[in-house]
């Protein structure tokens, strides 16, 4: 504890210094107010004993300056005075003095007063320190919020918008308040969107949005079904969120043709199918518990399927809208929302939000106002990029024995290999069909000697595959050779499949017979392949498939 004694009389200074040092205080001395301020600027002082009458700068002038220098922490200023009148006391207090001590000094009173003020100063110092810590943490939190908000707004911001498909409104701060709206288009052209409302507000509510959005975008990109997306989101949120948190959501897919809607609805208010005039055509009620509540086994995947027309619209909203209160405490409610929807043809989300604000008489917003309207229209045709084809020729072949025919699916593996070649992947379904038909012809009719006439009989289709299974199990000596060649100049794939059978139709080889025999399979092949040629024996087929 360091005490500053400010007095112009050396005797007083010496006396006080001696008394205080006796009580183990450190003592600094100044002879006027100016000197006192100099000492205060260079030394940590805990208590100032200040004389009133001094040359250069007296106590009345010095006191407010000392207080100012001390800043937020309490620095006791105790006046040393011989004055006895009330006016002087008042002035001492008015300029910032905290107490008095009278000359001549009473040792006990001096000691008591110094102790009392020292305690107060200590409390003030502690409070100041805590305040500084609080400020630090507050700033830290603010900063982290800013960072997280930045990350979230980037992660959730719509890379692509679909102005024709969807009109939506999210409150400006809603990202941090737990509402999210995601849209994406699948490779097949289906339009997907997700409106979600996390329980609670703030950072905790928003945390789930990041993984959820990743799952959504990834799965839409793969063209997955809505209930699979819901299932996956549920798993992610179930494992991630604490038990009391979940996400009410509506996940909707509008097919590429715009003719059908699949929806998984969990925990959000009713969705409405309306026409252009806003007339309510159908109410879609939530079917499920919100995401993140049920475990994998309990999760329900049931969807709602709707067939829709191009002039129809699907409206979905979080509970913020219907729960908005007027100044009189009335809720906006579903009935009013339906009325508002039919108030204007082709109503927009901003029209609806305006009505909600008018209803609440522009009172403070209680919850997020999130709403989306989907127009049931077909997707615009995809523009395909010009494909790039590999410029390297290759050829390879595989010879399959009976065991390999039993245990494997050679065509699938072969197509998987071919798909790795640049430019071929886009054609894999066709190539699979070609090879699969030809291989199965070779196997079923060439090697196994089955008659596909069975397929045409009542229930014969199933019987045929049972026969096939049995024949395959008993197969011992057989060979099928599959060759594939790619020519980058002609951009064609040349396949040949040759089997060890007797030739499937070497007795009758008229093309009409072939067609009837192989029916659907063959006519398909002729449409897809550039050319198909059987050898005379009928145990080898050559096919050309053009990538162009």
């Amino acid at each position: 504890m360091r005490i500053l004694v400010v007095d112009d009389q050396p005797l007083n200074c010496t006396l006080l210094k001696a008394m205080l040092e006796q009580q183990s205080y450190h003592v600094e001395v100044a002879n006027d107010g100016r000197q006192a301020l100099d000492v205060l600027q260079s030394t940590d002082i805990d208590i100032v004993l200040l004389d009133v009458m001094m040359p250069v700068m007296d106590g009345f002038e010095a006191a407010p300056k000392i207080k100012q220098l001390a800043g937020d922490v309490y620095l006791p200023v105790i006046f040393i005075t011989a004055l006895e009148d009330h006016a002087s006391f008042e002035k001492c207090l008015a300029v910032g003095g905290d107490d008095f001590i009278h000359k001549p000094f009473d040792r006990i009173i001096l000691s008591a007063k110094i102790k009392a003020h020292a305690r107060t100063r200590k409390l003030s110092q502690e409070a100041h320190l805590q305040k500084k810590q609080l400020e630090y943490h507050y700033n830290q939190t603010e900063r982290e919020h800013e960072i997280v908000e930045h990350i979230f707004s980037n992660a959730l911001s719509q890379q692509v918008t679909f102005p024709h498909h969807c009109d939506f409104h999210l409150s400006p701060a809603s990202m941090f308040n737990g509402d999210m709206f995601l849209m994406a288009q699948s490779p097949m052209g289906g339009f997907y969107c997700l409106l979600g409302d996390f329980t609670g507000h703030g950072l905790a509510a928003a945390v789930g949005a990041l993984p959820a959005s990743r799952v959504f975008y990834t799965m839409v990109n793969k063209g997955m079904a809505v209930n699979d997306i819901a299932f996956e989101l549920n798993n992610v949120l179930y494992s991630l969120l604490p038990g009391h948190m979940f996400c009410a959501a509506a996940i909707v897919e509008l097919s590429e043709s715009g003719k059908s809607i699949s929806a998984w609805l969990g925990g959000l208010p009713d969705c409405y199918l309306i026409d252009q005039e806003g007339l309510l055509l159908r109410t879609l009620e939530s079917q499920h518990m919100a995401l993140g509540i049920l475990d994998e086994d309990e999760f329900e995947r049931n969807l709602i399927h709707l067939e829709v027309k191009p002039d129809q619209r699907l409206v979905m909203a979080t509970d913020g809208i219907i729960e908005t209160e007027s100044q009189q405490g009335e809720m906006f409610g579903e009935a009013l929302l339906k009325t508002v929807l039919s108030s204007t043809p082709l109503i927009t989300t901003s029209d609806i939000i305006d009505k909600v604000h008018t209803f609440s008489e522009h009172g403070e917003q209680q919850d997020d106002l999130s709403i989306a309207i989907i127009n049931c229209i077909a997707s615009e045709a995809h523009r395909l990029e010009k494909p790039i084809y590999s410029s390297l020729p290759f050829n390879f072949s595989m010879s399959l024995n009976a065991n390999q025919m039993k245990g494997t699916d050679p065509i699938l593996e072969l197509v998987d290999v071919l798909s790795q070649v640049e430019g071929i992947n886009e054609h894999r379904s066709n190539i699979f069909l070609l090879l699969s038909e030809a291989y199965n012809n070779s196997l079923d009719h060439g090697v196994l000697g089955l008659d596909s006439e069975i397929k045409n009989q009542e229930d014969g289709f199933f019987e045929f595959y049972q026969l096939r299974e049995r024949a395959l199990a008993n197969l011992s000596d057989a060979l099928i050779i599959i060759s594939a060649r790619y020519c980058p100049d002609s951009l064609c794939l040349y396949f040949s499949i040759c089997d060890s059978g007797n030739g499937f139709r070497n007795k009758q080889s008229s093309s009409t017979e072939l067609l009837r025999e192989y029916g659907r399979g063959l006519s398909l092949l002729t449409e897809i392949a550039q050319s198909i040629k059987y050898n005379h024996a009928g145990n080898e087929v050559e096919m050309v498939y053009s990538l162009q």
Binding site: M224, S255, S257, S260, Y465, I528
Partner: protein, 101 residues
């Protein structure tokens, strides 16, 4: 390769989704999938969004289903086909017997 089925919330739509390869390996499970179509089922959806490959046996299976279910249900939709599969269905004139979406 797998097959899953789902009834819609109102029980009116049965969705059969086929993943990977749609061929005769599914002949049994595909038959079972539509065997339980009840009276309340109005529509069957064959969802091919995750189907990469199909061959003529798949076409045969679809026709068999059509034959079995006959008029007992309103419509059979084949939906979310990839472009090449859609073309295969069109070449086979399946658009005459099924709603291809």
């Amino acid at each position: 390769m797998s097959l899953s089925k789902n009834a819609s919330a109102d029980g009116k739509t049965l969705t059969i989704q086929i993943r990977g390869k749609f061929d005769f390996n599914l002949v049994q499970s595909f038959r079972q999938a539509y065997a339980e179509v009840g009276e309340q089922t109005e529509k069957v959806v064959i969802d091919l969004r995750e189907t990469d490959y199909m061959d003529s046996s798949a076409l045969g299976m679809l026709l068999n289903m059509k034959k079995t279910l006959g008029d007992s249900i309103g419509s059979i939709h084949i939906s979310n086909c990839r472009p090449q599969l859609k073309k295969i269905l069109q070449i086979s004139r399946f658009d005459k017997k099924f709603d291809i979406d």
